[in-house]
């Protein structure tokens, strides 16, 4: 197994060139962060502040964005509001201030939960199917292996809208329309091709000698798979899981066409959060920020595996 090489020049880059490189990269990173920082800040602005012109960089923070994200409110007359029982929390008082009354929680949390179920469910399924199929392709002589592999890859080439046309009809007839199971199956089908491809690359890298030794010692093939191969493929599995998760978590086209009240995930929901006038930008920003967090945490914790994953997947075909 070729290890990722360490510094590849006998003479390491000069401190000066290192500093220049660092400066350029840091500048790029900061520029890239500006839109994200703006989204983050907008989540804490009040409604009028978010659409002020010129845009406000300094402002008094408000919980309006997050409150609006998680509640539904309705406008009442001032007299009605005056005779209501005393407020019960930050969001309540914010709403009353503009003659609105909190009437319940919004659909955001159910959508977020749907995203969790569908994304993690399909990722788990993709990884399980992927690692088993990849192992089989790697270790056994499968008839028409190369063709099968290319066929698996080519299933990723159709535009999602194109795939959605027959799936829409199929799901309608079978009753999988607007169900979590239907979405999990669909995302798994889309992801499994990438999973097989990536994981085969990783498993190819694991020397067969270890398994051979285990087999000689009386292990069965299955035992060898679970006890010898899987632990060594951890990096690949984690990297694959990250890619599958990012795709399923952020997917929009299938979600908007095939889901409705029951199984809708967050991406179709966030862009249609509107307030009384136009889009409720603080709430949209809050929703986007909250939605980014799980993926951010997941990826940052596992970033080393991500880099190795790209390497191996890329090196092999």
């Amino acid at each position: 197994m070729t290890a990722i090489s360490q510094a590849h020049s006998v003479v390491a880059p000069s401190p000066l060139s290192q500093r220049i490189a660092g400066a350029i990269v840091i500048v790029y990173a900061l520029i890239t962060m500006v839109p994200l920082a703006w989204i983050f800040l907008t989540g804490f602005k009040s409604g009028p502040d978010s659409i002020a012109y010129p845009p406000k960089v300094l402002f008094t923070p408000s919980a309006e964005g997050y409150c609006n994200l998680f509640t539904t409110r309705s406008r009442q007359t001032p007299e009605y509001v005056a005779q209501m029982p005393p407020t019960s929390g930050v969001c309540d008082s914010l709403a009353r201030a503009t003659n609105m009354v909190v009437v319940g929680s919004s659909n955001y949390l159910p959508r977020f939960v749907n995203s969790l179920i569908i994304a993690f469910g399909s990722t788990a399924l993709s990884v399980v199917l992927g690692v088993t199929a990849a192992y089989a392709f790697s270790r056994f002589r499968v008839p028409a292996k190369d063709d099968l592999l290319f066929f698996i890859l080519s299933t990723r080439m159709m535009p999602p809208i194109a795939v959605a046309i027959p799936i829409y009809l199929m799901y309608r007839d079978v009753g999988l329309s607007d169900t979590r199971l239907g979405m999990i199956l669909l995302y798994t089908a889309v992801n499994v091709s990438l999973a097989v491809w990536l994981l085969k690359g990783f498993i190819d890298e694991i020397p067969r000698e270890y398994e051979e030794a285990a087999l000689v010692d009386g292990y069965t093939r299955l035992q060898a798979f679970f006890k010898v191969v899987l632990p060594q493929a951890t990096t690949g599995i984690v990297a694959t899981a990250i890619f599958c998760l990012i795709f399923a978590w952020n997917e929009y086209a299938f979600a908007v066409l095939l889901t409705s009240g029951e199984a809708q995930t967050a991406p179709p929901f966030i862009p249609i959060i509107i307030g009384e006038g136009g889009q409720d930008w603080p709430a949209v920003a809050a929703g986007s920020t909250v939605f980014l967090l799980p993926i951010l945490v997941f990826t940052v914790l596992l970033r080393k595996h991500l880099l190795r994953g790209i390497t191996f997947g890329a090196l092999r075909k």
Binding site: T2, S5, A7, H8, S9, V10, P13, S17, Q18, A21, I24, V25, T32, P35, L36, W38, P54, P55, L129, T132, A136, F140, I152, S154, T155, R156, M157, M158, P159, P160, I161, A162, I165, P166, Y168, M170, A189, Y210, Y219, T220, R221, K227, V228, P231, Q232, N250, E251, A253, P267, I270, Q279, V284, F291, V300, L306, L307, T311, A314, L315, K317
Partner: protein
């Protein structure tokens, strides 16, 4: 990672597996395992990818409309394909897609590779900053498109003000998503912002895979840094760069979410990329037969192009 000692593992396995199951499992032949492992994947792909693909092909020869389930369905031969290939709107969409594809690939490759090269210098804190650069690609493209529409607003959006700050032109004198000239660039900028980190990662993997000794040999031959870059670094990283181009190309050919939420394909149809046209035909006009033909045309296009490209990629890898 050290392989576990087979003897220790055998002991553990023998003690851990319940007897009847162990005997049965031990009995599974290689062949059975191979099929057991591959079958679920193949079945799933057949059900959700292949069968629908065949159904799409069948639909493309009919005039079926999904919103008229009770209407009579007739076979129309290749009429749909002729319609698709002679429709000027379809060609306009393909042009918009090609423009988007070309520029995003060029920009992302140049930027991505440059970043990878600089990060490879291993300056202090490079790990942290690499992770920071990765963040945009973790966002949902739909949410990104929606939010950048806000950023691009001439009156209340940040983008025009920043450009104005650096160049002095008044913020409301130009509009990114409203003007026919700038809208295509608006979507290119957002896509580049999102996906340059992806290209960077792949190029970084490529740069890291170049072994030490080649550079050492070049040093011994007293080749200049410049020379080293052009004759060692770039050629050896080329397969990776080409791979990144392939992935980004396939993804951007299918682009829908971000552009739809950013411009709705506007102004007019200036940024109406192929997937947006397809969506309108299939799920707004409900011309299922026609849009199936369009979908097949798109698939054949990208499949054919990818095939050619992969052959070239293989040649580069094997030289």
């Amino acid at each position: 990672m050290n392989a576990p000692d087979p003897h220790v593992l055998l002991d553990k396995a023998a003690r851990g597996t319940p007897e009847p199951l162990a005997r049965r499992v031990r009995g599974l032949s290689d062949r059975a395992i191979a099929w057991l492992f591959i079958a679920p994947t193949i079945v799933l792909l057949l059900a959700i990818n292949i069968f629908p693909l065949i159904w799409t092909i069948w639909l493309s020869f009919t005039n079926y409309r999904a919103n008229r389930p009770n209407a009579a369905v007739a076979n129309v031969g290749i009429d749909n394909y002729v319609s698709v290939l002679t429709d000027p709107d379809v060609w306009a969409a393909m042009q918009a897609t090609a423009h988007f594809l070309f520029w995003t690939i060029v920009l992302q490759t140049v930027l991505g590779f440059t970043l990878a090269y600089l990060i490879d210098r291993r300056f202090r804190g490079y790990g942290f900053w690499t992770t920071v650069i990765l963040i945009p690609m973790m966002l949902s493209p739909a949410v990104v498109g929606n939010f950048w529409a806000f950023l691009y607003q001439p009156q209340i959006g940040l983008f025009n003000y920043i450009v104005s700050f650096f160049t002095g032109i008044p913020p409301s004198s130009f509009e990114m998503i409203g003007s026919v000239n700038l809208a295509p660039w608006a979507i290119i900028i957002v896509d580049t912002w999102m996906w340059t980190p992806y290209v960077m990662l792949i190029c970084l993997a490529g740069l890291r895979s170049i072994p030490d000794y080649i550079y050492e040999a070049a040093e011994v031959d007293r080749a200049s840094r410049w020379r080293q870059f052009w004759s060692i670094t770039l050629p050896m990283a080329l397969p990776f760069i080409m791979l990144a181009v392939l992935f980004r190309g396939i993804e951007n050919f299918k682009m829908f979410d971000m552009v739809n939420l950013l411009t709705s394909g506007g102004p007019g149809s200036t940024t109406e990329v192929a997937s947006i046209t397809l969506k309108r035909e299939a799920f707004e006009k409900w011309r299922t037969g026609y849009s199936s033909a369009f979908a097949i045309v798109l698939f054949v296009t990208v499949f054919g192009l990818a095939n050619i490209y992969v052959k070239a990629l293989n040649r580069v890898k094997n030289r």
